[in-house]
């Protein structure tokens, strides 16, 4: 009896969490006006790709999609490289002021990114980077949480492994590439999915620094589209689906690492 009740409850919560996605998918395949009727339709009477045609042919969603994809991949690759180098150094090298430096970094994680946005905008403006890819890439070059995550993981790598390689005559850079990086694969996967999703889903910063329709990332393009098409749920649902589908795919492929990352991030220092 208790077992049935618990499963029923879990099932109801699952319906509540998934229903908006179901409606989004369904409405995106409806004709104009078919999603704005009462009582609502849950399944399209006539399946159509009109909304997607509109988005790809008349609106610049293709370039928005590639902006999002290109920037998310590039920021992920660069920040993973920078963060892993720094995280490894924090875990395995001795240098004066290390603890202090690391603590300063950790405690500055409390500073909300909105604080940096005005000066960063002015800086990028003076460099001529507003409305270019650089405006998104530059603030994403490295991040403190990433360095922290890599460091935690590196601490568990035995020093003997590194010492043995050094006795064999390997230099530090070789050790990092050939020994450390392969060991870091799981945490790099975790960080990759965090960074990719974070960049893909980011809204406020791209809204500030990207000013042309063709430069917009998907979330900015979508919010802009909403201004003109607030009465076209079918079109907006198609746009939303295009925006969330890639992140859902990435998440499903790497969910194990994502869940682990959340748990790692929550472990107290």
């Amino acid at each position: 009896m208790k077992k049935i009740f618990i499963h029923l409850l879990l099932f109801v919560i699952a319906i509540l969490t998934l229903f908006p996605f179901f409606w989004m998918i369904s409405a995106s395949f409806m004709q104009d006006g078919h999603a704005s009727v009462f009582p609502p339709r849950f399944i399209p009477d006539e399946f159509t790709l009109t909304q997607y045609q509109k988005l790809f042919e008349r609106l610049s969603i293709t370039s928005n999609f590639f902006n999002s994809l290109f920037l998310s991949v590039l920021v992920t690759v660069i920040s993973l490289t920078f963060n892993s180098l720094a995280g490894y150094a924090f875990a395995k090298y001795k240098f004066s002021g290390k603890e202090k430096l690391f603590n300063v970094l950790l405690s500055s994680m409390i500073i909300p990114s909105q604080v940096t946005m005005l000066p960063l905008f002015l800086m990028l403006k003076s460099m001529g980077f507003i409305n270019t890819y650089m405006a998104i890439i530059i603030p994403g070059l490295a991040n403190i949480f990433g360095i922290f995550l890599i460091r935690q993981f590196c601490l568990s790598i035995p020093n003997s492994l590194i010492e043995a390689a050094r006795i064999d005559g390997a230099n530090d850079f070789y050790i990092y590439i050939k020994i450390i990086l392969p060991l870091l694969t799981p945490v790099l996967a975790t960080l990759a999915i965090f960074t990719f999703l974070g960049t893909w889903n980011d809204f406020l910063w791209p809204l500030i620094v990207l000013t042309d329709d063709s430069m917009y990332t998907l979330p900015v393009a979508l919010s802009n589209l909403m201004l003109e098409h607030s009465k076209d749920p079918e079109l907006m649902m198609a746009g939303s689906l295009i925006t969330v589908l890639p992140v859902i795919i990435v998440f499903l492929a790497l969910q194990k690492y994502y869940i682990k990352g959340i748990m790692m991030g929550s472990v107290k220092e």
Binding site: L10, A35, F38, K94, I110, L118, F203, S223, S240, F251
Partner: protein, 294 residues
Amino acid sequence: MIGNKSGIAFFFLAPALLAIAIFFFIPVIAAFLISFTDFDIYTLGNFSTIRFIGLKNYLELFKDDLFWTALGNTFLFVILAGPLSIFVSLYAAIILNSKIVKLKALFRLSYFMPVVTTLVAVAIVWRFIYHPNFGIVNYFLSLFGISSVDWLGNPDLALPSIVLMAVWKNFGYNMIIFIAGLQNIPEELYEAANIEGANNWQKFKSITIPMLMPTTIFISIITMIGYFQLFAEPYVMTQGGPLNRTLSIVQYMYQEGFRWWNMGYSASIAFVLFFIIFIGTMIQFRVQKYLSSK
């Protein structure tokens, strides 16, 4: 440690630390300085017009009704959405963690789906779900004979409606952390309680709750920090309306800074936000210290 090789360590650290120093720390300091100036649209054209005006921006904020509205809305959002999301995620974590549950991974996956998806996209979906004429929420209520409600158009309901959407979006994240916390509680504690004949509620109250306290504090800190930065939900769903009842601090900062180019004023708003988040975090650290000393 693998020896004192400061030179190589520096080489490994330099790219990340330089990027963080130049594009994070310097902007933080610059924002602090800008908040004491009258940096505005004219300064943007001709930098020499900038003037140091001391605390004027901050004093101005005190007298600014719209700022107080934004502050009040944001606090209300944090106070409503924070505890509600924590409660929902704890509840979901506890039932999902129960031993008799089948298909755990599948349930966990579906609860987590809103967390990973793009906020702007799902906020748009919810705007239609809340639609007064054809929204699903009103359809569902109409089955019980309740007449149509203008969720996002009614000044009293707009913010609570955004709260519900935010809880839906975020509870899966904290749920995962709670599940990890629950799994760290030693099984023997419950076994000992069983021998003493404790009922489920007693076990929950005297084992689960105290053992989860560090996790709960951590979750309430990150949830609070995140919710104080409320922006995209109202921006997409209500544009801060109706009657500014969903205008958030970050949206006000964005408008002042990047729409009207009152950058000095906007920087002072950003620092008030930082100050609030800082104080909020410190209070929770204190609570944690106090509880763990008991």
